[in-house]
Amino acid sequence: MSSALPAALSTDSPAAAARPRLARAPALATLGLALIALATLACAAFAPIVPASRDELFEIPHGTWARRMAGEKVEILPPTITLTLGLNDVLLLRNADEVPQTFGPALVMPGQSFRLPFAVASTYGFACSAHASGQLAVIVEPHPAPGWATLRWRLRRLAAASRR
């Protein structure tokens, strides 16, 4: 029977055999993409975070003092800095300007840096003349647990990086 049908309609022909596979292709591609997305999220949630550096750097750029003297309001440090234990738990303050700068809790000379590690999750308050409030708060959060906390940490870092 089948040999009497035109080749295009015959289910035995190679083209006819390929049709169901082609029909399944979009579904397979969607499934594949979903699996990739799921695998990426799972990896981001459960893979241990191994930071290249635990330093959270803030730098006073060259010329800051001159800009301030010219009346410009220059903010280098945010009023609150959030760090995470074991990941970015070292506050690194670098003065690339030409004059000494009170930077967070320390007086930092030109060309000098101040590297302050944190070992306990807590909220730290520092007197800081660089802020109008005279205070700098450093919130040190605990190391995120594998799963949602790790994923949230990574997403937050990505969002912060995209804002820079």
């Binding site: 635990r54 302050l116 520092f126």
Partner: protein, 214 residues
């Protein structure tokens, strides 16, 4: 003759059969992407518990009246690690904790404590004379040396170290709002580090041992 190029090579004949292999490859790539999110590399080494100055500068020198009756300068303690704190004897909260911590750290150092000098610089010269500082510090550790002097000289010293101090209140009951870090000065007189308030005595022991060994 136009040569037709199949835009979906993966879905051509036999492509569906190869899809699982491609999926596997994609999953591996996804895994690598996830790992890349973590960014590889070794964490930086942190030798001190305190905040470290790099490069260290020479600690600003001073010459002021000491609670032991002699002039106090950093040069006098060259060869020792100096732990220098700023505060005042009437301080009810921060200074007793700081001095108690430093006293315990010295005890924890054992014989190495001989190579450590604690210097307590008043931010309240109006009330803290040499005798008062001596009596106050002796309650923590008789080896501690207090420093007082003219208000202008002490203000200049605070400026050199980035210390803030502000009088709060009126009358005899006023208090001094002041920054509370402890400065770590090595045997050569270099300002190596600054320990924020609240660290345990063990952290000072750890850092002092490293500074003595360096």
């Amino acid at each position: 003759m136009t040569r037709l190029v199949n835009p979906l090579p993966a879905l051509s004949d036999g492509g569906a059969a190869r899809l699982p292999r491609r999926l596997l490859l994609a999953l591996l790539l996804a895994g690598a992407a996830g790992a890349a999110l973590a960014a590889g590399g070794a964490p930086a080494g942190l030798p001190l518990k305190a905040g470290v100055f790099e490069p260290p500068r020479q600690a600003p020198e001073f010459a002021l009246r000491g609670s032991d009756g002699a002039e106090v300068s950093l040069a006098r303690f060259r060869g020792k690690v100096v732990l220098m704190a700023f505060g005042f004897a009437n301080c009810a909260a921060v200074c007793p904790v700081t001095l108690g911590t430093l006293a315990e750290a010295r005890r924890g150092l054992g014989p190495a404590a001989e190579a450590v000098q604690v210097v307590f610089v008043t931010v309240d010269p109006e009330r803290d004379d040499a005798a008062k500082l001596k009596a106050y510090l002796a309650a923590f550790d008789p080896s501690f040396v207090g420093v007082t002097g003219a208000p202008a000289a002490l203000a200049a010293m605070r400026r050199d170290y980035g210390v803030t101090a502000r009088r709060q209140g009126t009358g005899n009951g006023y208090v001094m709002d002041h920054s509370s870090s402890i400065y770590l000065i090595d045997r050569a007189g270099k300002l190596r580090a600054q320990m924020p308030y609240g660290h345990a005595p063990g952290d000072f022991v750890h850092d002092v041992k490293l500074l003595l060994a360096s």
